[in-house]
């Protein structure tokens, strides 16, 4: 492998890693606030991609309009999921909400198969984002590959600002400590939780849109693999930590790409490399890279 090829691998890894990070951020935020692993996150992500498909290919709307519709539509779906499947279980043990989340995930996937059929659909890729820029040494970079990390970092920045510098953010962090006490302090807990879900779904939509642009194929099960990968990324970074999820996603992307780069004969096992790393992290740093120290709450 010469330097040019290595640089190409590096660029590929950055693009893949920031996509994983972006999906993981939404995952981890909902967990951080509600202590709920939202297994339906990957499926909400899929809905976001389908909204773009319908807006741009079926109804032939301009691309930017499609993105806005997708984000709004997906957020509404996320809020509906919260209202129907999670809100009635707020007082129930956490395991019930987790099982409900798995149910929601299966429901959305199979609902999508019935409504959209299993046929993979194409997505319009704006040429301006796809025209490769040829760098010295024949290294190729598509503008989308730069856009993804930028969007990811900007969104993480906004999210951190929201969580640490605003009143609703304060309320969210309070809820993560103790719902009952927060309610007694006069915070409209349900509204804040709905806000968290709305934000999580909007993030899933953004990730779904960028994913569909990068890998232009929309199908009902497209959220499964990214969902699992994002979960790993979130655990890597310390589940509940927003910057951690982004870092976890980047590490995961690099492990996957570099394992193929250095061990091409084992390229079929790139997921195995990622999962081994997960096991190691869990063994030696159970709370992840940036995770909070576990302490017993009284």
């Amino acid at each position: 492998m010469n330097l040019n090829i290595f640089v190409q691998h590096f660029i590929n890894a950055l693009s893949l890693g920031s996509l994983y990070g972006l999906v993981a951020v939404g995952y981890t935020m909902v967990y951080g606030i509600l202590r709920l692993i939202n297994f339906a996150h990957g499926d909400i992500f899929m809905l976001g991609a389908y909204f773009v498909y319908f807006a741009t290919i079926v109804y032939k709307l301009p691309w930017a309009v499609g993105v806005v519709i997708a984000i709004i539509g997906t957020t509404i779906c996320g809020l509906l999921v919260d209202r129907i499947a999670y809100k009635p279980l707020r007082e129930a043990p956490r395991i019930s909400a987790l099982i409900s989340a798995i149910g929601v995930s299966f429901f959305i996937e199979n609902f999508a198969v019935v409504v959209f059929t299993g046929m993979p659909r194409p997505v319009v890729q704006p040429p301006i984002l796809m025209q490769p820029i040829v760098l010295p040494g024949d290294v190729r970079l598509i503008p989308l590959g730069i856009l993804v990390p930028i969007v990811a970092f900007v969104l993480v920045g906004c999210l951190l600002w929201l969580l640490y510098r605003t009143k609703p953010g304060l309320a969210m962090r309070a809820i993560s400590f103790d719902i009952e006490t927060t309610r007694m302090m006069g915070v409209s807990v349900n509204r804040i939780i709905a806000l968290a879900f709305g934000l999580g779904s909007a993030l899933a939509a953004v990730a779904g849109i960028l994913w569909a642009l990068r890998y232009p194929r929309v199908e009902p099960f497209m959220g499964m693999t990214p969902g699992i990968k994002a979960f790993i990324a979130a655990v890597f970074g310390g589940i509940g930590s927003v910057p951690g999820a982004m870092i976890g996603g980047l590490i995961l992307g690099f492990v996957e790409i570099m394992s193929v780069a250095f061990f091409p004969t084992l390229s079929g096992y790139k997921d195995a490399f990622a999962f081994c790393l997960l096991i190691l992290i869990l063994l030696f740093r159970p709370t992840g890279l940036l995770g909070e120290r576990l302490e017993d709450k009284i």
């Binding site: 099960f221 193929v260 390229s267 079929g268």
Partner: protein, 375 residues
């Protein structure tokens, strides 16, 4: 009320018993939902067209019982069990996907019901099976065909493979391609893998670019294949790609856009763009266009159709719809005219037929020729 219901049940049971003799039940198990739904749906449409045109065999009405195997190995076994135990079918047609065929085949083998595979091309599907047949050729033949075309017709000396290691079909084809290409004197410069469901192939493609092959054999399903070709173009890959029959789907151009230009794949000797079609293929194409004016037939539709024709021919020669007799007749099928060429069932229950090569030119599938693989 209960008495009435009992009476009704009895009448219904009598009806089924009475009608069992003059109805031939043909089970169809195929993937109508899930990952492989695109192929299964097309094959089902082909079989249904054959049924519409030939609704009776031996003056008995043929009834199709359709079961979805959901592209899932466990469901495939369940689907076949249901067809045999609940619906008591005389024979079964299906399926797209070798893994699914293998799961279902075990069940049919035990029950002694003949199955005709549509496009399951892995050799293991019929290996040591008395009751599994297929209307398609098998992977060694196909892998060798791609290698022969690349080496002899195109004159490429350096090849690589990119294989889905979680898929029996893809792994088998990749191996047969490599073996055959090396035997002819070519060199395999890289052998890379991915897993079903992957969407990012940039790492593998960059490694391929590094290995500098002339041609890459990509035995993928079309949905993944199209994305591989797209990413290859983005990375500036200059080598050609050749695939196998699972890439034969009109949607590949919709998904891949201009990135699939120049892509070749082996296929069965049928395509609506073929210059010289046999009589059966002409009739099939005409009937298909009558029913689906807005959709061109592809090879899966043709195989679904051929499976029914093969079954019809066997039942007629057996003079009976008894599963055992159908099986014996299927084994002796010789030079049966079908849409995908003359079909002969060989000792391993596979169809021996010509192989076609298709290339995508100007966004359209173009039939470029027939190849005789050097196995």
């Amino acid at each position: 009320m209960r008495k009435f219901l009992t009476a009704l049940m009895l009448v219904l049971m009598l009806c089924t018993v009475a009608s069992a003799d003059d109805v031939i039940k043909v089970g169809i198990f195929n993937c109508l939902t899930g990952q492989n739904a695109f192929g299964g749906q097309l094959e089902l449409e082909g079989t249904m067209l054959a049924h519409t045109l030939n609704p009776t065999i031996l003056d008995k009405k043929v009834e199709l019982v359709i079961v979805d195997n959901k592209s899932d190995k466990v469901e495939a076994a369940n689907a076949v069990t249901r067809l045999i135990e609940n619906d008591k079918v005389n024979a079964i047609i299906g399926t797209y996907g070798s893994s699914l065929a293998m799961a279902g085949g075990e069940v049919a083998e035990k029950a002694g019901v003949p199955v005709i595979g549509t496009s399951c091309t892995n050799p293991l599907v019929t290996q040591d099976k008395k009751y599994y047949f297929r209307v398609c050729f098998i992977d060694p033949f196909q892998g060798a065909g791609a290698a022969t075309y690349a080496f002899r017709n195109l004159g490429f000396k350096k090849a690589a493979t990119l294989v889905d290691m979680a898929n029996d079909y893809s792994v088998g084809l990749g191996k047969f391609f490599r073996d055959s290409f090396k035997k002819m004197g070519g060199e395999i410069v890289a052998s890379l893998f991915y897993q079903s469901g992957d969407t990012d192939f940039t790492a593998q493609l960059t490694a391929l670019i590094d290995a500098k092959p002339d041609i890459v054999f990509l035995p993928a399903y079309f949905a993944e294949g199209a994305i591989v070709l797209k990413q290859a173009k983005e990375l500036g890959a200059t080598f050609r790609f050749i695939g196998a029959d699972a890439m034969d789907n009109p949607e590949i151009v919709t998904l891949g856009g201009d990135a699939v230009e120049g892509f070749m794949h082996t296929t069965f000797a049928y395509d609506p763009s073929m210059p010289e079609m046999n009589e059966t293929a002409k009739a099939f194409t005409a009937e298909w266009n009558k029913i689906h004016p807005d959709k061109a037939p592809n090879v899966n539709c043709a195989l679904g159709y051929d499976a029914y024709i093969l079954l019809k021919n066997a039942i007629e020669r057996a003079g009976s719809a008894e599963p055992k007799k159908i099986r014996d007749a299927l084994e002796t099928t010789k030079d049966l005219p079908t849409v995908t060429g003359m079909t002969t069932i060989n000792a391993t229950h596979d169809a021996e037929k010509d192989m076609g090569i298709v290339e995508i030119r100007g966004g359209k599938k173009t039939f470029v020729g027939i190849v005789v693989p050097e196995v």
